[in-house]
């Protein structure tokens, strides 16, 4: 069957009260992938996730991990081999951060010292100060608690990570950080991650593969995020993905938008035009000696650029990047011009917002 880390085979779950939470689910999660289960609340995502580590037992069908039927593995042993992160951090309130992170290694018989060292290492991995190790969960912010929850799940270095709406309860700014860090972790640690969310944006951002669940525990579509946005399998998926799916789809369109020229100034005060003749002259881009953009200055300030410079701040656009990133770069730039750079970060020119919008229009038209 190849390298499917997790396989659902005709799995059904009917709770004792008669609710069928998952109905005939067959799905393969490829090894090393980040697979997202997405769908409205109550459609069986959590139930499906919890059948992987036997927190819920299927009524019918089997769940396999690396080809082995999980019902043949003792529960505790199975769960220790999978990290589990949930929405409510579920940290032990009477134990310190380090003790919490050490939970699974300690259950596996590791010495207190070894577990502690590993826990402190993990604090850094997940972007927390080592000094927080002695704190108690109640002394942490919600975002910090979620980070500790992730560290706890990673502590025994399990090949599989199960995450149930881990970032839903934190504020949007922290959520964006956590999402970025998860993608980063995924690059560094080779893990199979199953991630549950009700948020389509999060699914598109994180998932290599997205499984859209419909009410009644039906798997409506299972494909790459691009495919789901472009070709929703049915009316349900189309409605769930929503009206702004056109905008979401921009995440995947790469388009060559014509570059425009920009006036630059270097540290010595020498000016130049990069990318062609500069259309706009009241904003000047300061560049360093390597030709990388440093910040925007208005032409009237150019005498004292060093302290007056607006840091580039906003995102930079890499040609070939998505339309969405181009639009982001333009909108976040003080001059309204997106700064385009090559792979070494050297300035290539700028994108005018009108050119970006025109490219977006073309994509929309081509899809009608």
């Amino acid at each position: 069957m190849g390298n499917h880390a997790i396989s659902f085979r005709e799995v059904r779950k009917t709770y004792p009260d008669g609710t069928t939470a998952v109905d005939d689910l067959t799905l393969d999660v490829p090894e090393g992938s980040l697979t997202v289960f997405v769908g409205p609340s109550g459609c069986g995502k959590t139930t499906s996730l919890r059948m992987i580590n036997r927190m819920v037992e299927p009524t019918a069908g089997t769940v396999e991990v690396n080809g082995q039927d999980v019902s043949t593995v003792p529960e505790a042993q199975l769960r220790r081999s999978m990290g589990y992160v949930m929405q409510a951090s579920g940290l032990l309130p009477h134990r310190t951060v380090v003790e919490n992170i050490s939970t699974v290694p300690r259950l596996l018989g590791q010495s207190k010292r070894a577990a502690r060292e590993r826990a402190e290492e993990l604090l850094e991995t997940i972007g927390l100060d080592r000094g927080l190790g002695g704190r108690y969960p109640s002394q942490l912010s919600g975002g910090q608690q979620q980070r500790v929850g992730v560290a706890r799940a990673l502590a025994a270095d399990p090949p599989v990570l199960l995450m149930d709406e881990p970032f839903s309860a934190v504020d949007p700014v922290v959520r964006a950080d956590l999402q970025r860090e998860l993608l980063d972790l995924k690059q560094r640690l080779n893990k199979t991650i199953v991630f549950v969310t009700h948020d389509m944006d999060e699914a598109v951002l994180l998932g290599d593969r997205v499984a859209v669940f419909a009410r009644g525990g039906r798997l409506a579509q299972y494909a790459s995020p691009e495919k789901i946005l472009r070709e929703p399998a049915d009316q349900f998926v189309s409605d769930f993905v929503g009206r702004d799916r056109g905008f979401r789809a921009l995440s995947f369109d790469t388009h060559d938008i014509p570059l425009s020229g920009v006036l630059t100034v270097d540290g010595q005060g020498h000016t130049a035009e990069v990318g062609g003749p500069a259309g706009v002259t009241d904003w000047v881009l300061e560049v360093n000696s390597a030709g990388q953009p440093v910040g925007w200055v208005t032409s009237t300030q150019s005498a004292e650029i060093t302290d007056q410079a607006h840091r580039v701040g906003g995102s930079l656009h890499h040609p070939g990047g998505s339309l969405r990133s181009a639009l982001d770069a333009a909108l976040s730039s003080p001059s309204g011009l997106a700064v385009a750079v090559d792979d070494d970060g050297r300035l290539l020119g700028v994108l005018r917002p009108q050119d970006v919008l025109e490219a977006i229009d073309k994509v929309r038209e081509s899809r009608q």
Partner: protein
Amino acid sequence: MNLLSGMWQWLTDPTNWTGTGAIPARMLEHVAYSGVVMLVAVLVAVPLGLLVGHTGRGAGVVIGVSGALRALPTLGLLTLFSLLMGLGLVPPLLALVILAVPPILTATYAGVAEVDPAVKDAAKAQGMTPGQVLGHVEVPLALPVAMGGIRNAALQVIATATVAAYINLGGLGRYLIDGLAVRDYSRMLGSVLLVAVLALAADAVLAALQRAVSSPGIRTSPTEK
């Protein structure tokens, strides 16, 4: 006013502080009765409370029976047990154990039942066995609440252990019974003060113990929610 000065006189009379029936000996008896009663009550009520809280089974029965037991007057029980079993230490100790069990049992049960289900669920999902969930999660979180019940029970037991004197046993109750017989109110009042001092001292010790078993992570609000 002369009642208070009489009490003071009784308390400070050196002859009351030496010999077999003297204050230190009576206090020791009182502490011994209370200590034995508390030990037995804790050994019965804490494991039972943990079991009921952990399994969630029998909670209704436990709460109902505890309430019923609380309604029984200790003196009545003592009389009944003495009639059934004859004189001796067992009837008063048993009556006092029945007094002490309900507060400890309900507090221990409540301590376990109050543990956040998400915390238990997460502990289980990390791969803890049911026994480990009990030992690593439920017991440490329930202990501060259970200690509250133990303090409560200890106060009641120390105050009520005076009943042992009704059936010719020792303890500080001796001064109450004997004082009443000869209308020596100074002696009675003095012994009441001694009982109160003993109760407060025991409570202070148990409060320190309660603090010691409460993790700083939960100490700010040991009975939150």
